[in-house]
Assembly symmetry: C2
Homo-oligomer: 312 residues x 2
């Protein structure tokens, strides 16, 4: 069986391994899924799994299996991505915590300085190994928590786009990937709200984190910080709204109490982005929004991971 | 093949049907999943699917298939439950919208009167058939949106527990189920915060909606509205925290910006509910919380679906 790819399927309390040719390779007796999977793994040479998963194939029903497969994961009890959406009520910012349930490696997207206590406590409660704290862009409405988090979580690195020119441990550009266990966030450059805006796509789960490029039924403003409505329109249509329609869309902000949308929904119902490019530019130029309250503190702080130099 | 149960599995752009005995029944050539599934359904008698799904078996990878299977669902593009979490910033209330993506039948849990515009617009955007608007209990902190929603959405019924003695179209009790498509919410009586508190369990998806019985790292107060700390402790431990540990837990409120938890997490980290019963009662009796601001308006309104009688 070495080299044969297989998929674990659970049905009627039996576990099957089905080969890439649809051949039934293994069928356990009726037993708890956990016992069945253990037996399955003992029966087959580890070579099969190395082969199956070296190509990054994910398992259908029973969640990710890797060489250090933990039974609690493959038993189906903790399948797939660990995902939490967190909110800062003051700036209406959404922070996202993503983790691989097997390796416990975690990524935090757009953490806010005022909520670092909560976020670090949650990472610890869940027994996660927080490796990356990413900013989708240099925020103007809140101070990032990445600097503070790095002080408290050993080994955690801050990430932001190279184009933003902000300080961080790692600078990301289009085409880069952020890996955590078998998962990866693909980095896309989506300028227009700012030059350095990135959107992150978790293809295997059908998720896109759009920062301020796309908001639910809206989009980020383009009247400061290198804002450019035409550029935003192009970014959004070529990189975000071109994704499969069922992809779930998670923005960095929402002001109406909605927590997510989908690419398809925005293609149908987003009153700004469904217009023509010229109409969109006209709308964006006539928004007449007030000056953002936090901007004079947030921008300089966010150029340095939100970390204040006591000597300044 | 009539009467044989099967599971649809997608692997390497082929679609397989695997029988309950692990036998490969069908394998398509490499083609788009949607085409493959169409071919699969044509090849097999519909009797197989009636048999497979009359027992409520859900499909592994490709989402739910029912008798009126729509190809967009079985293609894997819109698999499984449609679920949205919505927030009212004023009362920190979470409203939940659940729907079957095939029949479009939807349920709304704990809608808030101030957010009815948003909720009805979302139901319409998503092309849903909102049948039920449920209150987990008679809320003291906000006025329910169920009455207003019923005026705007023809055929939508309001639900609340019989024990609450509040007016509604349908009174639910422990053991009742709220069905929408192939999904069902099992109703559990979880008194203690109020006598009429219900928790709703969507077993097939591993979700529990706890109202105010369990909050993330906390629980509802027990100092008014028939509150009883001992009763709450018993309810929570026998009906909610006895669920599988991986079940996701969605409360009616959160004040720290968290959106969900799991049964396992609360069993480990909830500082109140992990105590002994006596310790818990002592904690709850010494909370010394301020009188809820909205209570004098909310309680009488929520006894009548939030609908104000102009003659009063």
């Amino acid at each position: 069986m070495s080299g044969t790819r297989g998929v674990l399927v659970s049905l009627q309390r039996c576990v099957f391994v089905i080969s890439g040719q649809g051949q039934g390779l293994f069928r356990s007796k009726r037993m708890s899924t956990e016992s069945a999977v253990k037996r399955c793994l003992r029966t087959y040479s580890s070579a099969m799994y190395r082969s199956a998963y070296s190509r990054g194939e994910s398992v259908s029903v029973l969640g990710s299996v890797n060489r250090a497969a933990k039974m609690s994961t493959v038993s189906g009890k903790e399948t797939g991505l660990l995902f939490r959406q967190l909110l800062d009520y003051k700036s209406y910012t959404y922070t996202y915590l993503l983790a691989d349930p097997v390796s416990r490696i975690a990524v935090l997207i757009d953490p806010v300085i005022d909520m670092v206590d909560r976020d670090v406590a949650l990472v610890r409660d869940l027994g996660l190994d927080l490796k990356y704290a990413v900013n989708t862009h240099v925020h103007a409405d809140h101070i990032t928590g990445t600097g503070e988090i790095k002080k408290r979580v050993a080994g955690c690195k801050s990430l932001i786009s190279k184009v933003s020119t902000a300080k961080a441990d790692v600078h990301i550009s289009e085409g880069d990937v952020i890996k955590f266990g078998p998962y990866q966030l693909d980095c896309y450059s989506t300028p227009g709200h700012t030059d350095g805006c990135m959107s992150l796509v978790l293809r295997s789960e059908g998720l896109v984190f759009t920062g301020d490029a796309v908001l639910i039924r809206g989009c980020g403003r383009t009247d400061f910080q290198q804002g450019d409505a035409g550029k935003l329109y192009d970014s959004v249509h070529t990189k975000i709204l071109s994704l499969p329609r069922f992809f779930k869309l998670y923005p960095a902000h929402d002001y109406t109490g909605q927590t997510s949308s989908t690419v398809g929904e925005e293609l149908q119902h987003n009153q700004r982005l469904t217009r023509t490019r010229d109409e969109f530019i006209k709308i964006m130029h006539n928004l007449n929004l007030p000056y953002p309250k936090q901007i004079d503190k947030a921008l300089p702080a966010n150029m340095v991971c939100g970390v204040f130099d006591a000597s300044q």
